[in-house]
């Protein structure tokens, strides 16, 4: 047993750094909405951070989808073990703040001797609204996306269209889609246009369409108002209805995101609206030549952002708060964000990330990422209201009825508005309608 002492020495050597000094341990919950290699990359990043300093030890916990992450973080918080940092869907921030789950980040800004304005200045303007609630910072943007038009260049050539001139307006979109649609009568072999119409995606794309029509979708400074029954939304809803029933360039009924991307890759749909988050997936799997372009406009160019932000949960002690904030600042440094953006296909929320040489190289090599970047100045906030999910579904259920020919657009938006108003009434009664 002569090896025993040397083993003990070795064990001590390994354990000593961990025992020495008061290290703060914190949990970091993160979802991966896209695929498994992102989870591995995130685990690697956290290891790099842990190795780079000795004050904070972060445990990265993979928590499934955005929805699962919200549930698990809330469950952990109510069990008295709140995660210090959570990567949360950016449009859940308002709801979570209203239910008292999140802490304001203003005190940390104060300790750092900075202001919200200074802190957010480097982030794209469209991201500011989803990071703040009632004029206070509650979230730091981390990974973001916008919708984008993907089109099959081979189909464009075949239909006699210029593959370098994708449609820029709704009128051009309809004209091109008609030429790209193949088949006779009811049996369509190839559709000119398609978009995901399942829950979540549908609401996001309706926001893109109504904004491209000059609209706003929701009041980005007050959680109790959506603009469903408006001329801009009517135009967007009627446009969707017409694509199916009048122009016959889009499949009838609801098609989920997985179906839309499969159809696009298989050459069964020529143009699709998908997230910029799908860029690396399409780049890796598309056999035909493809291009990307801005979401076509009717009145103006405008798209909503989507994606995730870092938030901190209530119930942490001061050391954990400081440790969490330190980690957030490291994760959202221009360098870390640039690396994550190149790896995932999300765009980096900091403008300065794009000034880094490795990022300039990347953009030069990937013209599709350049288009996504150029669309960013036209980006607007993501809808977030009291009861975000239910209010979103109020519109989505009606639009799904429109897509199936069960309702006409004018009636659908009226019903959506009525249902959404009923959902938000408790909040409106407590706030805007609570009068002296």
């Amino acid at each position: 047993m002569r090896w025993l002492p040397s083993l003990a020495t070795a064990a001590l050597a390994v354990l000593a750094p961990a025992l020495a000094g008061a290290q703060t341990k914190i949990d970091f919950f993160f979802p991966v909405p896209v695929d498994g290699k992102l989870a591995r990359e995130m685990t690697r990043l956290v290891k790099v951070y842990n190795d780079s300093q000795k004050d904070v030890s972060v445990t990265a916990v993979y928590t499934g989808s955005y929805d699962d992450t919200k549930l698990k973080a809330q469950a952990a918080a109510s069990a008295g073990k709140p995660p210090a940092v959570v990567l949360m869907s950016a449009n859940f921030v308002l709801d979570l703040k209203l239910s008292g789950d999140l802490i304001s980040l203003e005190p940390m800004l104060k300790t750092d001797g900075t202001t919200r304005g200074q802190f957010l200045a480097d982030f794209w303007p469209a991201l500011h609204a989803n990071a703040t609630v009632d004029g206070e910072l509650y979230a730091v943007p981390y990974q973001n996306s916008t919708p984008l038009l993907y089109y099959n260049k081979d189909h464009f050539k075949e239909a006699g269209l210029d593959p370098e001139k994708p449609p820029q307006t709704w009128a051009e979109l309809v004209a091109d889609a008609k030429k790209l649609t193949k088949g006779n009568g009811d049996s369509v072999e190839r559709y000119g246009f398609g978009m995901p119409e399942g829950y979540d995606y549908m609401g996001w794309l309706m926001e893109a369409l109504t904004m491209s029509n000059g609209g706003q979708y929701f009041n980005d400074e007050y959680g109790g108002e959506v603009y469903y029954d408006t001329p801009t939304m009517l135009g967007a809803a009627q446009f969707v209805e017409d694509l199916v029933f009048k122009h016959k360039v889009m499949q009838q009924g609801v098609v989920e995101a997985g179906g839309v991307s499969t159809n696009f890759l298989a050459g069964k749909t020529s143009m699709v609206l998908l997230s910029t988050g799908s860029l690396s997936f399409v780049r890796d799997n598309m056999k035909a030549a493809y291009g990307v372009a801005f979401v076509p406009r009717n009145v103006r160019n405008a798209v909503p952002i989507g994606g995730g932000s870092l938030v901190m949960f209530k119930g942490l002690n001061d050391e954990q708060k400081q440790a969490g904030w330190k980690f957030i600042k490291w994760l959202t440094s221009a360098e870390t964000l640039a690396g994550w953006s190149r790896f995932t296909g999300y765009f980096a929320p900091r403008k300065s990330s794009y000034d880094l040489p490795e990022m300039k190289d990347f953009i030069a090599k990937n013209p599709d990422a350049k288009v996504a970047l150029e669309q960013l100045p036209y980006a607007k906030p993501w809808f977030a209201t009291y009861q975000t999910v239910a209010v979103r579904k109020a519109l989505e259920d009606e639009m799904q009825a429109v897509l199936n020919g069960k309702k006409k657009a004018p009636q659908a938006i009226k019903d959506a508005q009525r249902n959404a108003d009923a959902l938000m009434k408790p909040y409106v009664d407590q706030t805007a309608l609570k009068l002296p």
Partner: protein, 313 residues
């Protein structure tokens, strides 16, 4: 013991009686001592949560405030004025009324066809049982690609025989029936297993006697096999009904209750209220109702099952 054996214990000596009483007490306590571990676990993970859910269902936590108010039956009344809940009940009834009889009938049919052991039959049994061994989540993910409109496997083979497919999951008139199809595919083989076991225990002489009396195949099935399988049928019925209320994986994976609420089952409604709409009270009320329904169902069916097995024996 000797005094007891004589049957006349001397009145002044009560020790043996006390000993007996003590032993009786020990005997009565023993089962409880043995049950304690599982009772504790049941209390922690079943009974307490049930109590908590009932308590939650009588309270309302207003989203945006931390307070929890006692509201009596308001959550329950709210459920019945919520069109989405009523539709989920209707959907669930339709779903149960189709999946349960169809998969049970198929299960019985498979069992009758494959009851005799042969190499071919055991291969067929394994093949039919296979879907029930695939987790529902995995099965649903597979069916996502089978049901893809236009490019999916289902449409591909329909096109081969000259038929045009539909938007299986994207049309509210069809989507629920697509889910019914997956459920039947998944469960029929499992129910076959119970019927096979039931058929093994069937007394051969009864069937032989019937054959000698000139009963044809249909008559034997109608008047002997099916009545003798009654206990099995009662058991499978309970399992199938419970499945229809407690399985929701395919809804989550394939449709999320859509399009336009067409595939929203009660369990998914509960999930939605609790996880998405911050309406814990409403979710709890719907849970109490569905658990109450399941409880009533199992009590009634266990009773009939007992009666059925007496009748059979």
């Amino acid at each position: 013991m000797s005094s007891i054996a004589t049957g006349a214990p001397p009145l002044d000596d009560l020790r043996p009686v006390r000993r007996l009483a003590r032993r009786r007490l020990g005997r009565r306590a023993l089962p409880f001592i043995l049950l304690t571990p599982s009772l504790l676990l049941l209390a922690a993970f079943t009974y307490l949560p049930v109590v908590r859910v009932i308590w939650d269902s009588l309270h309302e936590q207003i989203h945006g405030s931390r307070e929890s108010l006692f509201v009596g039956l308001k959550n329950y009344i709210g459920l019945f004025s919520d069109a989405a809940f009523l539709q989920s009940v209707v959907n669930n009834l339709l779903y149960a009324a189709t999946t349960v009889p169809i998969s049970m009938a198929l299960g019985l049919l498979f069992a009758l066809a494959l009851q005799h052991s042969s190499r071919f039959n055991s291969v067929m049994r394994a093949l039919l049982l296979f879907p029930s061994m695939v987790p529902l989540v995995a099965a649903a993910s597979l069916f996502f690609f089978i049901f893809l409109p236009g490019v999916g496997l289902f449409d591909y083979y329909l096109a081969k025989i000259g038929l045009r497919g539909a938007n299986w999951l994207g049309n509210p008139d069809i989507a629920l029936w697509s889910l019914v199809g997956i459920t039947v595919w998944k469960n029929a083989g499992y129910y076959m297993l119970f019927y096979l076991a039931g058929l093994q225990t069937m007394p051969g002489e009864v069937l032989e006697a019937a054959t000698i009396d000139g009963a044809n195949g249909w008559q034997r099935l109608r008047h002997i096999i099916v009545p003798l399988l009654a206990p099995t049928t009662a058991f499978v019925l309970v399992i199938a009904l419970i499945n229809a209320l407690t399985q929701v994986d395919h809804v989550i994976v394939l449709t999320k209750g859509g399009p336009s609420n067409a595939t929203k089952l009660v369990l998914y409604y509960i999930f939605e209220q609790a996880a998405e709409n911050f309406a814990a009270g409403k979710a709890a009320a719907a849970s109490v109702l569905s658990v109450g329904f399941l409880l009533a169902l199992s009590v009634v069916s266990l009773k009939t099952m007992e009666r059925g097995s007496h009748a059979a024996s």
